[in-house]
Symmetry: C2
Subunit: 359 residues, 2 copies
Amino acid sequence: MESVKKIAILGYGIVGSGVAELFYTNRKQIEKKAGTALDLKYILDIRDFSDSPYKEKFTKSIDDIVNDDEVVAVAECMGGVEPAFTFIMKCLEKGKSVATSNKELVAFKGDILLKTAKNNNCNFFFEASVGGAIPIIRPLHKCLAANRITQITGILNGTTNYILTKMETSGLTFEDALKEAQQLGYAERDPSADILGDDACRKICILSSLVFGKQVYPQYVYTKGIREITLEDISEAKEKGYKIKLIANVKEINEKITVSVSPTLVSTENMLSQVSDVFNAVMIYGNGMDKVMFYGRGAGKLPTASAVLGDIIGSISSDGTVISQYWESSENSDFIESFDLNNYTTLKLKSGKELIILN
Amino acid sequence: MESVKKIAILGYGIVGSGVAELFYTNRKQIEKKAGTALDLKYILDIRDFSDSPYKEKFTKSIDDIVNDDEVVAVAECMGGVEPAFTFIMKCLEKGKSVATSNKELVAFKGDILLKTAKNNNCNFFFEASVGGAIPIIRPLHKCLAANRITQITGILNGTTNYILTKMETSGLTFEDALKEAQQLGYAERDPSADILGDDACRKICILSSLVFGKQVYPQYVYTKGIREITLEDISEAKEKGYKIKLIANVKEINEKITVSVSPTLVSTENMLSQVSDVFNAVMIYGNGMDKVMFYGRGAGKLPTASAVLGDIIGSISSDGTVISQYWESSENSDFIESFDLNNYTTLKLKSGKELIILN
């Protein structure tokens, strides 16, 4: 009889429960793509889920998973740096591949985790950490591998894009649009990581690290959120042919890279201006393909779970470490050019805000 | 000393010469991603290129390439079914992986080529055959592997999209827009494969075969081009909130699939309506990720070359056949539901044309 390989989920929140649900919904197809019979053996969570249909799979001890040789791949959906980092390190050191949706962790500790995976001949994958369901990590390092990537520009935070869309289309103030986003579950009770730009910052760090081969830490990134954007700014932008979007950007300048997150005037001619509500999109520029854009749901239970499970399938069907998805630690920031508005075309609004223009 | 692996190009037209150019422009990075030193050893073409900087690489005999054990991967950029098919079969039978931009070949002979690659433990890749530079094949079978794909809808032909865009934005007639496209090199002297829908048909065949696992031949596809679309149709559509686009579509109906190419009313709310000029885009619907869209240049020298070289890198850096990118021959068409307008929401224009609506 063919042996059944086992997977585990760390964290049974929105994404983790989505991974379990989607796995059982699409199990046959997932097994076919992975080339092996598969089952979910453990779910790690400190909370009790005695009503869950999966109740017998729950454990509170990471060691149950780490020490079980049947477990070949682990989906980390806990969020935050600790204890996720410690738990993942234990899994990788045992040669178990890990797929994560945790952008904070990858932005701060990606280099260490990638190195540990490499040393243990397994994979640390993170497709779900940027752009939710949107395939972006694998296309960047695989499909576009023959290009020199010169710039990446994206709408990477769904909450702020929802707020800006509502301000533009329904005339809601920032505060009211935020309240609506919270009621719909698009924004958290403490929305600061979204509206101050920190979430988008972590995601552009991950894309920058992947493309340029060195860890780009959040502190290297000029980060400005949308809190100060007013209805007047938005209508002035509209008159002039722009929409205001929170744009995360990395580009080459003077053989270095410069990375930023800021409210930006996006020309209505640019496809990114058409990305509304909670959708995300990433435009990638390269010297062969010109530009390509990826668009889809940047968050949500099943969309994010679909990306995590795609990585689980990829890790099980590949032998050894995928070396092209890798970056080194950065001892210093001498490959980063400081952010300087003079390197961009800008427009000063009546409110005095000087915003970058994206044509 | 590390051995240098060799590649060959079949056909030195627009795409083939782009592959050579982009390879030497980005060689260092390509070698890094492939994990080995690489060089271009042969270019096969029946014409003489004695002025070319690569003149010593030209050969008129496929056997030079087939019998050279140094050659590990071959880029086929000849177009047409023969002699490309015979040449590729010879390469695959010797265990040399092949990357192609040739949609006609894949749409008619994909099953045989994939089987031959599998039997010889090498790869037959075709990212460049659909959507030019846009990563679509690998994301479909890798990144979105955890989804049940329910529908794929795309603008897959740049020539017709250019013509429709010019009719809409500049008020050119079909004939004048076609003439302009020909002058710009976007349409061929004989433009029938584009404007009758055959080119888009071949591409949706490839995507359908990949997703549903059986060869979908062009004769199974309801195919209607844009020749009859008038300026009046376009302006009536605009009044009603639509743009007319040539849409290739495959969707599940009654546990079968139905495949079509036809002029379609795309709601201006739909991202596909924003895809203008020669750009292509593909929207993919699945039960996990909801929908994602890929957008970019669907043709052109370097964009297409970038996809071919991405596949060359992929074939060199992978051990053995990528089994998930595979489909079977189809003995009959009993998995295809005949096209029936009653399965779609439609609108009858004043001219009497009944077009499908895409919201």
